[in-house]
């Protein structure tokens, strides 16, 4: 699972049936600098399926790969799935 910040959403007029009930978020993956509250994003943003109800500005934990499709009943073409909406982050890397 990786942490990312929700920066927008995507709406579709037609989609694969198994996606019904969810929505799509544009997510900016967070690197070390972003977790520490500074720095610029270095990775491209991605689109993530969400059925928890995250909104713009939320930090979410998303899963990529095979596990993203696992929560669905049938085989589903999906790359990223929102698994949790973060309440608090305690990020304390050791001081150099």
């Amino acid at each position: 699972m990786k942490l990312g910040k929700v920066i927008g959403k995507v709406t579709l007029s037609r989609q694969v049936d198994s996606f019904t009930g969810g929505r799509w978020l544009v997510v900016q993956p967070m690197n070390r600098e972003a977790l520490a509250g500074k720095g610029q994003p270095t990775e491209p943003s991605l689109v993530c399926y969400d059925n928890l109800g995250a909104g713009a500005g939320n930090i979410i934990g998303y899963v990529e790969g095979r596990e993203a499709a696992q929560p669905f009943e049938q085989d589903t073409p999906i790359d990223a799935f929102n698994a949790l909406i973060v309440d608090t982050i305690n990020y304390m890397p050791p001081k150099k």
Partner: protein, 85 residues
Amino acid sequence: MMLCRVDGNVTATVKHASATGWRFVICQPITADGAELGSPTIAIDPLGAGLHSRVMVTTDGKYATELLKCRKTPVRNSIIGIIDS
């Protein structure tokens, strides 16, 4: 399997039902000499790893389904060992 350092934790009220009751820690992949490699990932922590401890993290999703006792969990990363030396 990844060698990681525990750099913190996250809390979440709203999450996939299978993850209820589990602790989520921020794992920073590192090299053997402690240099940081890439972005941190989130793993479930069944062992209770402390802050800045070095841990072994598996990306085996099948193991996570057994650990969480849920076939449909999206969780993939889990801590499988705390490194002494």
